[in-house]
């Protein structure tokens, strides 16, 4: 089962011919991802790696290939347009990898996506500024799964832990720890480090809660905003599965942006300490350090 994507998901890449997009498209194909199309305006008709057809527009690509998910690798100045183009073409899952999109652009994108008339038809946006999504496969080094984005595939293992995070490298840490301890992942979702993003921690927890394959969850957050708190409060009431939480940035000075555009302490409530307190109050096992995320989950899970 897993969530959002599996090995059958038909994936389209926006910005497939840029160096970053091309490199990761190749890695995804090697991993086993079903990449059906690429889009680069004015390069329609060409083929990527002699295999994947390239189109000028997303709507044409969708019509010709039936793609339902898109990964966006276009530069920041054009990324908002790319998200809206994907939504207009009826893409169900839009994963925006691009880092550095102006906040005003994302504000408008989010407002427009929210106005799509029928909620059922709404595109789901994951990111921006995120490592993407991986549903590991059952082959060697988890090959045969679906990888959308830039996460290293080989660190994964197919299994029953769901991972959701605002940070790329911390996701890899958690995944690697789990894999080393012999526990695989159902799906790993990077929701991104920007102040305005699409899918939230809470959205992903809801999906993991409904997914029969997911038995336990690691939720990784950081300073700034209240998304982790919102998710924890929801989980307290509704989530039936054990959760381990980690919040980065306990030592971050207030008012400074710590690398991620969204990682900034604005008040007393969005510090790491305040968030950890709420998580613990909501029954989430809080990992004291980033090196014990998997172990903390296993202890809490009774493994």
């Amino acid at each position: 089962m897993a969530i959002l994507i599996d090995e059958n998901t038909k994936v389209l890449i926006q910005g497939i011919t840029g160096s970053f997009g091309a490199r990761h498209t190749k890695l995804s194909m090697e991993y086993g991802t079903n990449i059906v199309a690429g889009v680069t305006p004015s390069k329609g008709g060409q083929k990527f790696e002699n295999k994947v057809p390239i189109f000028d527009t997303v709507s044409e690509a969708v019509k010709e290939t039936g793609a339902t998910a898109s990964a966006i690798f276009v530069p920041p100045a054009f990324a908002a347009d790319a998200i809206l183009e994907a939504a207009d073409a009826g893409i169900e899952l839009i994963v925006c990898i691009t880092e550095g999109i102006p906040v005003m652009d994302m504000m408008r994108v989010k407002a427009i996506l929210a106005e799509q008339d029928v909620p059922m038809n709404r595109s789901r946006l994951v990111g921006p500024n995120c490592p993407g999504i991986v549903t590991p496969g059952t082959g060697e080094k988890s090959h045969g799964g679906c990888r959308i984005g830039i996460a290293p595939g080989y660190i994964h293992k197919r299994g029953n832990v769901g991972v959701v995070s605002r940070s790329g490298t911390l996701t890899y840490e958690a995944v690697w720890q789990l894999t080393q301890l012999g526990y695989g992942q159902s799906t790993c979702v990077g929701i991104g480090g920007d102040p305005i993003n699409g899918t939230t921690h809470k959205d992903v927890l809801e999906m993991f809660n409904d997914d029969p394959e997911t038995e336990a969850i690691i939720m990784i957050g950081e300073i700034g905003g209240n998304a982790e708190v919102e998710a924890a409060r929801w989980a307290k009431e509704h989530c039936k599965k054990p959760i381990c939480g980690f919040i980065a940035g306990a030592t971050a000075p207030p008012g400074r942006r710590m690398g991620h555009a969204g990682a900034i302490v604005g008040g007393a409530e969005d510090t790491a300490q305040a968030k950890k307190k709420v998580l613990a109050e909501c029954g989430i096992a809080v990992a004291e350090t980033p090196s014990v995320m998997a172990q903390t989950l296993l202890d809490h899970w009774g493994k």
Partner: protein, 392 residues
């Protein structure tokens, strides 16, 4: 990015936000001329630094106050002389203080009442939000804590923009009557400025109403979205590198994310989340991080070497912890960068390296064969403990 008050006035003038007339001066003579040009009875001379609390600040020379009221061009010149080139210490600058390179000479206005007004991007709703309060001129966080009912919050639909009824509502709740139209115009202009300049926050504390019923923005704090600066070369030109930590300026020239802190263990990490978590784990084991440093997901050998030089440029640093999870990034590239930089700088401090991920064996080999005194850690936790005990 932040800007100076005199630069804020430029933006206000461009967008029609009323503010008292003023002119910037870099010498006492210019201050004298600015005051003459203003030709009013009273002037205010304000030290231009990127920090608040100027009025109550003290110069290292002993001169009191970075904001002074004077009543003649000669007095403006005298005050400017005492401020320019001197170091002003306020509660926001830290002990080091900031050197004042420019002063603003402005019209002094009488004040009947003070209002707090800000526009900022609200993360929870992803909408711009207007925040207003009758308690202008005060620390707004204190007001929010003491009497939250005195803080008005009006979210704006980003697709529709600020509506006239919202402005009327805010004026009504602030109790503005005769000056409502003027305040409304100010708010509309301010909102337009916020959107068009890609601000993440504009705070006017205070907006003042004078006895002659004029409305002025008296002090402004701007925050711009760094990701959007590429489309505002005029605002980018307002950047004052002298106000920034020189280490941070050097890092930004190499596309590195660096933030200086007060501790003595330098960190070099890939990824913002892991970089924060690395600082946390150092603290957890009793150490004190000297910096946040994210070399990014695709750092080159040159960038790693540059990062190394920057952290070694901090005299407080007594040890270095390199923590890399090379998902896609090649661990050997990092190792080669570290070795090159360590050889170049003649490394004499304890260095602990934790490498994990892609091509990690080659990376560890490069470190081992370098002949340098490098401790290799096989976990983040172990590495953090090692560097803390090496430094303490």
């Amino acid at each position: 990015m932040n800007i100076h008050e005199y630069q804020a006035i430029e933006l206000f003038n461009r967008f029609g936000v009323p503010c008292p007339k003023g002119k910037v001066a870099s010498s006492p003579r210019e201050a004298y001329e600015a005051a003459k040009w203003l030709s009013v009875g009273k002037f205010v001379v304000k030290a231009q630094i990127h920090a608040g609390g100027r009025g109550k600040g003290t110069f290292k020379s002993g001169f009191q106050g970075g904001v002074k009221l004077v009543s003649s061009p000669e007095a403006a010149r005298e005050v400017a002389e005492k401020m320019l080139g001197e170091t002003l210490v306020t509660k926001q600058t830290g002990e080091a203080g900031r050197v004042v390179r420019k002063v603003l000479v402005g019209e002094s206005v009488d004040v009947r009442r003070e209002i707090y007004l800000a526009v900022l991007m609200d993360r929870e709703t992803s909408h711009p939000i207007i925040i207003a309060s009758t308690e202008g001129g005060m620390d707004i966080e204190e007001v929010a804590e003491r009497s939250p009912e005195k803080i008005l919050r009006e979210p704006v639909n980003p697709l529709a923009g600020l509506q006239a009824y919202q402005v009327r509502k805010i004026c009504h709740e602030l109790g503005l009557k005769t000056t409502a139209r003027q305040f409304g115009r100010l708010l509309h202009s301010l909102y337009r400025l916020f959107i068009e300049c890609d601000c993440s926050m504009v705070e006017l504390n205070p907006v003042v109403v004078t006895f002659s019923d004029h409305v002025f923005a008296l002090d402004a704090k701007f925050n711009f979205d760094d990701n959007a600066l590429y489309r505002h070369p005029d605002i980018q030109a307002m950047r004052d590198k002298a106000e920034e930590d020189p280490r941070e300026v050097a890092a930004s020239e190499h596309d590195l994310n660096y933030i200086g802190l007060d501790g003595n263990i330098a960190c070099l990490v890939n990824g913002a989340g892991l970089a924060m978590a690395t600082m946390d784990i150092i603290k957890h084991h009793g150490g004190d991080p000297a910096n946040f440093l994210d070399v990014g997901g695709g750092a080159s050998k040159e960038q790693v070497a540059a990062a190394f030089r920057i952290i070694l440029g901090d005299p407080n640093v007594k040890g270095i912890f390199i923590n890399i999870f090379g998902g896609i990034m090649d661990c050997n590239v990092v190792a080669e960068g570290v070795v090159a930089a360590a050889k170049e700088t003649g490394l004499s401090l304890p260095l602990v390296v934790r490498l994990e991920g892609n091509n990690v064996e080659a990376g560890r080999e490069t470190l081992a064969e370098s002949g340098l005194d490098i401790t290799t850690a096989d976990s983040m936790d172990g590495g953090a403990k090692m560097i803390v005990s090496a430094v303490n």
